[in-house]
């Protein structure tokens, strides 16, 4: 008896008990749906995260004070000279920019808005992959000459001046004025890095406005992905040496952030994977239970088949196939439900659903494995029956 015939026999028998078969596979359905949904959502989320981070360039790194280890920030911890020294001594560092953060009320011809201002240099645009819509970003000579210029992001520009090119117009900040030299593209990023409205000033100009010099953070990019590690570590060393402050600085890279993000999603996947595993186990036991009932109910059928020439192996395979088909059925329903779930979450979270062929294959594999594992015992019991006894049974 070939496998095709056996599968048909199995389907016949499952069809003759539709409700029972459906209830039996429910555990498998839930288990597989959970696996597919979780993996799908996880993979989609991860892909989204990667995509977002790629936008910044994966070569990016940053250095600030090591708050994690309880160090506290002093105004002179990061100085503009540090940048010069690092750039001269660390060839792996391609761009390095200071970032001095503040909040300011900006006033234009059409309106006003309180935005985050970042005092920085020309390199910042390279580090953060900023795109200019109009005009230009801050240039190195702005700082040198002490120009009072400002770069707005699109949304801030719209708020202050209405639609159109605002380059050359005047912005009032506190009691000072600055000329708009450029507008950069607002990024509607998922991760919220750039979602705030931002204005960029030359670092020296911001220092003058504030009345003190401060750099909160250095942001740089390495010349290649492989050199990020070296770039940030060497930069950190130089800072420690120049400020005689070992362990005072903390360097991070997007690579690291991605890894820790992956770790978090990995743990979540593991937890829900365990739940799915338990569900599959419970489902499998349900399948075994029903198969045992089925074997008992069909004792006479087994006897008849044996009398007609079924070998013990034929009976064994018949019931194992039935168990596998039952689980596969649950698996397929689970895949559809799980995919639907992943699609729904992806739609809500606005990221691409990603249920890979591998995941589906894995789910199918799991179904078959559960069916096989929990089908063996009942099938074995069926195949061990004495044909005379079996024929006598009602």
């Amino acid at each position: 008896m070939n496998i095709g015939e056996l599968i048909l026999v199995a389907i016949e028998s499952i069809k003759s008990n539709k409700l029972r078969s459906f209830l039996t596979t429910l555990g498998i359905v839930i288990g597989i749906a959970a696996v597919i949904a979780v993996v799908g959502i996880g993979q989609g989320g991860r892909a989204m995260l990667m995509q977002e981070m790629e936008k910044f360039g994966t070569n990016m790194f940053g250095i600030w004070v090591n708050y994690r280890d309880g160090e506290s920030f002093r105004l002179d911890d990061l100085q503009i000279n540090d940048i010069t020294v690092i750039k001269e001594n660390v060839p792996q560092v391609k761009y390095l920019a200071p970032a001095s953060y503040g909040q300011m009320q900006l006033r234009g011809s059409k309106g006003h808005k309180s935005v985050q201002v970042i005092g920085t240099t020309a390199d910042y645009a390279q580090v953060r992959n900023l795109e200019t819509v109009w005009g230009r970003f801050i240039r190195d000579d702005d700082a040198a000459v002490g120009r009072r210029v400002i770069v707005l992001d699109e949304r801030t520009a719209l708020k202050l001046f209405g639609p159109g090119n605002p380059v050359g117009k005047k912005v009032m900040l506190m009691s000072n004025s600055a000329v708009v030299v450029g507008v950069i593209k607002s990024d509607s990023s998922m991760l919220g890095f750039n979602s705030q409205q931002i204005a960029y000033l030359p670092w020296s100009f911001l220092s003058r406005l504030n009345g003190w010099e401060v750099i909160h953070e250095l942001q740089g990019s390495a010349s290649s992905k492989e050199e990020v590690e070296a770039a940030m570590n060497l930069s950190k060393k130089i800072l420690e040496r120049r400020h005689h402050a070992p362990n005072h600085y903390y360097a991070y890279s997007l690579e690291q952030e991605m890894e820790s993000a992956n770790k978090v999603t990995g743990i979540m996947t593991l937890i829900i994977g365990c739940i799915a595993g338990i569900s599959l186990l419970v489902g499998g036991i349900g399948v075994m239970n029903i198969m045992l009932v089925s074997v008992t109910e069909r004792t006479r059928e087994i006897g008849i088949r044996m009398a007609l020439g079924a070998r013990r192996k034929d009976i064994l395979v018949q019931f194992i196939i039935e168990s596998i088909v039952l689980c596969l059925l649950g698996g397929f329903i689970g895949i559809i439900l799980g995919y639907g779930g992943a699609l729904l979450v992806a739609r809500l979270a606005k990221w691409p659903p990603l249920v890979s062929g591998w995941t589906v294959l894995l789910a199918v594999g799991f179904s078959v494995a559960v069916g096989l594992f929990f089908g063996i015992y009942p099938a074995n019991k069926a195949s061990k029956m004495d044909p005379i006894e079996a024929l006598r049974r009602d």
Binding site: M1, N2, E5, E12, S13, S16, R300, E301, G303, I304, R305, M306, A307, L308, G309, A310, R311, R312, K313, D314, P387, I388, L391
Partner: protein, 244 residues
């Protein structure tokens, strides 16, 4: 066809051993129509199970179709049951979820016959038994006589060496029983070897040889010079019914 020498079967249940067959020697030639009769407990069921390769003898030898089958394994037994033996049971033993056609195909399925061939032969044999318009009916849609004919078709389908019929008329009314016996007689006339197990003497007398069993032994082995003819009996019944 069948050559049995000093065959015995003992069942042991815990401390007790119950002898069911106590050394039977028997020859059945090709083309014979043998009835085994006896009261319940006489050993005829055990005899049937041993002949049908559903059970193994405790002692003695059994040659089926020239082959010694006393010491074969389960798989060989299954294969021999499939190829050499056609069972007809009292309770028909059709699979309720399969149509007449599928039930008949079942034996061929285990013989590994190809699908088209199976279909063709099953239709042929069912037609031979007058069931050509019942191919796609399920057992619960057929009468007892029709079901038994499906079962006979199933038994015949692999061209077995012998047909083993265990009380084949036991679940049928007397006229339907006669119809079944008439089929067996016709098959036997065409050369099929038939072993019939029954406790009804009237049924046994349709065969050409009656073995009477008691206490695990054959106590009487009798050639029937003039067996009853089921076909004539049915005619007679019809006439009587007509007159009344």
């Amino acid at each position: 066809m069948i050559k049995i020498n000093n065959l015995s079967k003992t069942y042991s249940t815990g401390a007790f051993t119950v002898p069911a067959l106590k050394g039977i020697t028997l020859d059945i030639a090709p083309g014979e129509f043998v009835a085994i009769t006896g009261a319940s407990g006489s050993g005829k069921s055990t005899m049937m199970n041993l002949l049908g390769l559903l059970d193994r003898p405790s002692e003695g030898s059994y040659l089926l179709d020239g082959m010694d089958v006393s010491n074969l394994n389960d798989d060989d037994y299954a294969r021999l049951r499939n190829r050499k033996i056609g069972f007809v049971f009292q309770a028909f033993n059709l699979l309720p979820r399969l149509t007449a056609l599928k039930n008949v195909e079942l034996s061929m399925l285990y013989a590994g016959t190809k699908h088209e061939e199976r279909r063709k032969r099953a239709v042929e044999v069912l037609t031979l038994l007058g069931l050509e318009d019942r191919l796609h009916h399920f057992p619960n849609e057929l009468s007892g006589g029709q079901n038994q004919r499906v079962a006979i078709a199933r038994a015949l389908i692999n061209n077995p060496a012998i047909i083993l019929a265990d009380e084949p008329t036991g679940a049928l009314d007397s006229q339907t029983g006669l119809e079944i016996m008439s089929i067996f007689q016709e098959l036997n006339r065409q050369g099929t070897t038939i072993v019939l197990v029954t406790h009804e003497l009237n049924i046994a007398r349709h065969s050409r040889r009656i073995l009477r069993m008691a206490d695990g032994l054959i106590i009487n082995d009798e050639e029937i010079a003039r067996p009853l003819d089921a076909h004539n009996e049915i005619q007679a019944l019809r006439e009587k019914g007509g007159r009344a």
